[in-house]
């Protein structure tokens, strides 16, 4: 029996700070409650209030690996959302908009980007029209969209009358109205909407009542005007407890369950939410788990520092005492951390740095995604500074990698940079209990010695390059950022110097041998395929999704996902690339940073690249398009550019 596949994508747009985020979360909850898997991401400007932001979600009975364009529904309760996403909508989709916005013209929308206004002017002038909401709606209808015009002002007044709340205090419920109308039109029954709204606002009854009323009034209006819809069938994932979690949160959770006791950070998008979630859970009731050691609460010191230099510095200090410590940042903050990364290598201090990449260079676009810091991470720190760099492909990988990163840091007494990005940071997915099972990973703290050691040598020369590590407080010793002898005492002696350099490099060999091959790189798909995609990080799921589509179209590709980028898995990558006829790199950077590494380490040239440079997430359609163009034309570089 073939199962009915449901696959729905929605964009909910609106001004920043106006409730779009809540509406997006509610949409994710609705579909999760209905038994679907979800993925949803938030795209926003570096702005507190007023600029256009949107929530893009996809719900599927299968695994929605990546966001999908065009969407099946656009909830555009303000003019900017209608006009911004006019080209993101599929035939037959449902577009919800505000009747009151019909005459608004792009040129009068203050927050809208100037360049977008110009593009809209041009696009509509070719139709002999102005870029107004009305004209956009007309265009959408011509393209086969079903439009749903809500008289928001009127409906809002009704909510106010019913709940007794003043109009101004319930203005944000317009998002819920738009969303509820769209959901109802897609066949979602009203009780699911209520349940999701309750789950979202449950703890705040004053917000809950007007939102429920708003949802009901919008649904009633939709029903009256457009009639009953065929109900959306329940998805296959009903009847169990599920988790909806962002990348920021899943990394925070991993750190907490993985034994983090100290995190220092400086606020920077898109890393802050990770630290905030740790802070929210810094004093955790854990019941019986640690009863034997007399603990019923787990405390984690989380501290906002004066800058990123202090953020990593404090974490390093904490690590010296034996605490499991980490910090979290993005590109600009990581730049400031460079000198301390170098010290962590020289002084052999365990430290995990979660590096949430965003679009640079410099401040660039602080709230948008990119993969431009791969080489920065690998080459961070002056001097010869071997380190571990691991890039996670999705939420599940991010969870396990965050725990492993802490193990590796302590085991090899080295900085571990966990590469993530803004896309993962603000993308939510639905997970099951078995997706994030920490019992699959052990806590390994390496060669740790507690208590006094006779003639203790902090930097004892060993075969594997790793010395026994004693936390401060049991012996006397020197931890040194200067070159030193085995005791840590400063030394410029040529023999000492050479021995220490070689010791630190030997650690790299030890690391390479210790980390299982399957964790370093993964070959997805048919090993015999002639086209091999190589990529790293959060492009994973979009590529896997594109591979499915390409396979349906008869194009066979496989995908080598490089997970550990330092030390680079040279032999493994060489082996895969030796059999490839065409190598296609997929990266969200312009300089081909992974291609550079592959060439440097293996000698293989990545002959073709698909690059995403517009600071928006990579979509599967980007990859499908890029691969086909490369196969058809042999072109070296394809710049793909989906996303608004």
């Amino acid at each position: 029996m073939t199962r009915l596949t449901i696959d729905l994508s929605i964009i909910i747009g609106g001004p920043q700070g106006g409730g779009v985020e809540s509406a997006g979360q509610i949409a994710l909850k609705v579909f999760t409650l209905k038994g679907y898997n979800i993925i949803g991401t938030r795209e926003y400007h570096s702005n507190i209030m007023g600029a256009h932001s949107y929530f893009h979600i996809r719900a599927s009975s299968d695994t929605p690996r990546a966001l999908r364009l065009p969407v099946d529904s656009l909830v555009a309760i303000d003019a900017e959302s209608v006009l911004t996403h006019v080209n993101d909508v599929a035939k037959g989709s449902i577009v919800v908009y505000d009747v009151g916005s019909i005459n608004q013209d792009a040129s009068t929308l203050a927050p809208m980007e100037h360049s977008l206004k110009k593009r809209l002017e041009k696009m509509f002038s070719e139709r002999g029209a102005r870029p107004t909401v009305g004209e956009a709606i007309k265009l959408l209808e011509e393209r086969g969209a079903r439009t749903l015009d809500l008289p928001l002002k009127e409906l809002l007044r009704k909510v106010s009358e019913e709940t007794g709340s003043p109009l101004a205090s319930i203005a944000r419920t317009v998002n819920i109205m738009g969303l509820s109308a769209a959901l109802y039109a897609l066949g979602v029954e009203f009780p699911y909407i209520v349940k999701a709204v309750e789950a979202q606002f449950g703890k705040r009854p004053k917000i809950l009542a007007p939102n429920i009323a708003a949802a009901r009034i919008a649904v009633e209006y939709t029903h009256e005007k457009y009639g009953a819809r065929n109900p959306l069938p329940d998805g296959p994932h009903k009847g169990r407890v599920r988790m909806i979690v962002t990348g920021n949160e899943v990394v925070a959770m991993a750190k907490i369950v993985g034994g983090l006791t100290f995190e220092s950070f400086y606020p920077i998008t898109p890393s802050s939410d990770e630290a905030h979630y740790i802070e929210e859970n810094k004093y955790l009731d854990v019941g019986d788990v640690f009863r034997d050691v007399g603990l019923d609460k787990l405390s984690i010191v989380t501290l906002q520092t004066e800058d990123e230099i202090a953020a990593i510095g404090m974490a390093l200090g904490a690590a010296l005492t034996g605490a499991r410590a980490s910090t979290t940042t993005s590109g600009p903050g990581f730049s400031l951390m460079n000198e301390f990364i170098s010290m962590a290598v020289e002084a052999e201090i365990p430290i995990v740095i979660s590096l949430w990449m965003r679009a640079g260079p410099s401040t660039g676009i602080a709230t948008r995604t990119g993969q431009q810091d791969l080489l920065h991470a690998i080459f961070s720190g002056h001097g010869d500074t071997p380190k571990i760099v691991v890039a996670s492909g999705d939420h599940v990988e991010a969870f396990y990698d965050a725990i492993k990163a802490m193990n590796w840091a302590e085991k090899f007494q080295i900085p571990v940079i966990h590469l993530l990005d803004k896309y993962l940071a603000s993308t939510s997915v639905s997970l099951d209990e078995w997706d994030v099972d920490p019992s699959l990973v052990e806590i390994d703290r390496g060669k740790r010695v507690y208590g006094p050691v006779k003639d203790y040598k902090r930097y004892e020369i060993t075969e594997d390059g790793v010395s026994p590590i004693a936390p401060l407080g049991f012996n006397t010793m020197i931890i040194n950022s200067l070159e030193h002898d085995e005791y840590g005492f400063v030394s410029e002696d040529p023999i000492d110097r050479e021995a220490m350099v070689l010791k630190r490099v030997r650690k790299v060999e030890t690391i390479s041998k210790s980390i299982p091959e399957t964790e370093k790189a993964l070959l997805h798909g048919d090993p015999d395929a002639k086209v091999t995609i190589v990529s790293f990080g959060s492009t994973k799921q979009a590529i896997l999704s594109a591979m499915e589509e390409l396979y349906r179209e008869g194009v066979k590709v496989n995908f080598l996902q490089v997970r550990v980028l330092s030390p680079f898995p040279r032999d493994l990558v060489s082996k895969v690339l030796a059999g490839a006829e065409k190598i296609v790199g997929v990266e969200a950077n312009a300089t081909g940073q992974l291609s550079f590494l592959i060439r440097a380490h293996t000698g293989y040239s990545v002959g073709h690249v698909i690059q995403k440079l517009n600071a928006r997430p990579l979509y599967d359609i980007d990859v499908v398009y890029g691969v086909k163009r490369i196969i058809e034309s042999g072109v070296e570089r394809v710049v793909v550019n989906s996303g608004s």
Binding site: M243, I256, G258, V289, V301, L303, G313, A319, I478
Partner: protein, 310 residues
């Protein structure tokens, strides 16, 4: 048996220039540690980069030689992760007030129980005598091609504004008096700073021993009623004007001694204990994180705010 100062001396060759003020400071620290009977295995000396920061090699402890300007963040992380350790920072005026000035002010806000000893000679010695942040405007030391065109920072006022709860100034060649200040700073619960004036006989030919000794005097010798201790908000109102007046006194007369000691503020460690009772018993360095190597916490059991029953 009580410890003696020799118990803190390491076998390392002390590589400072003859006559360097650092020797006096080092001896004061030895003396203070001995009188406080601090166990070297429980002591952490954190140094930045510079002549003074090399003290980490000369004092027995669990010491950390960090990077330029960053001793305070490392020391803060150490103390917060293991509050049972005695943590002191040794650094120069360039290290602590120049490149590390941001961390210096941030520590005052936190009031972590750390003692900061500024080896203040107004020059960068190891890099051959450039102007330090405490070198007066228009002063010209021998390594400078022209007189200094940057003004000097007042470490005491900076510390006061930042929120340090113990502020003192000493003089490197007065080992005995300095020992008393070092001892008081270590004993003080909270962020303590001792600005230690010291001649640099090699590079500072302007602020010499003679120059200092013509100007310095002790607050409690000149005024036996001098009382810098703040025990209440009322005390602060009454005593602050006189304290600030003394901190501002520069030029021909330079006061030494304890300027300010605020007993009314919680340390960061106490604040953390308030926020998370049990923190002091199992701070980050000591809290169990696993049960026999196993992770026993499952996200679905503890992060219930993210769960949804379908």
């Amino acid at each position: 048996m009580a410890r003696r100062w020799l118990d803190y001396k390491t076998g390392a060759w002390v590589q400072w220039c003859p006559g360097c003020g650092d020797f006096g400071i080092l001896n004061s620290i030895y003396g203070a540690l001995a009188e406080l009977d601090i166990d070297p295995t429980n002591l952490v000396v954190v140094g930045g980069i510079g002549c003074s920061s090399r003290s980490v090699y000369y004092i027995k402890g669990n010491n950390v030689h960090t990077i330029h300007g960053r001793a305070i963040p490392i020391a803060s992380g150490i103390k917060l992760a293991n509050p049972e350790l005695t943590v002191i920072v040794t650094g120069g005026d360039g290290d602590l007030l120049g490149i590390g000035g941001g961390h210096f002010t941030a520590l005052g806000r936190r009031n972590i129980d750390i003692a900061i000893f500024i080896y203040d000679n107004a020059v960068y010695g190891l890099t051959k005598g450039q102007a330090g942040p405490t070198l007066p405007l228009w002063a010209r030391t021998k390594a400078l091609a022209y007189p200094n065109i940057q003004g000097s920072v007042n470490p005491l006022l900076l510390a006061f504004a930042a929120g340090y709860t113990f502020i003192a100034r000493g003089y490197a060649y007065h080992v005995n008096q300095l020992k008393g200040l070092v001892k008081a700073a270590i004993q003080h619960k909270g962020s303590a700073v001792v600005d230690i004036l010291q001649p640099c006989p090699t590079y500072n030919d302007f602020m010499t021993q003679e120059w200092y000794e013509k100007r310095i005097y002790y607050l409690n010798e000149e005024d036996p009623t001098w009382d810098p201790v703040i025990r209440s908000p009322e005390d602060m109102k009454v005593k602050a004007p006189r304290i600030l007046e003394k901190m501002l006194e520069t030029g021909d007369r330079i006061p030494l001694g304890i300027f300010f000691q605020d007993l009314t503020k919680d340390t960061m460690e106490e604040r953390l204990e308030k926020a998370m009772p049990g923190y002091l018993r199992t701070p980050p360095a000591k809290r169990p994180i696993d049960v026999k190597g196993r992770i026993t916490l499952h996200p679905f059991k503890i992060f219930k705010d993210k769960l949804l029953e379908t």
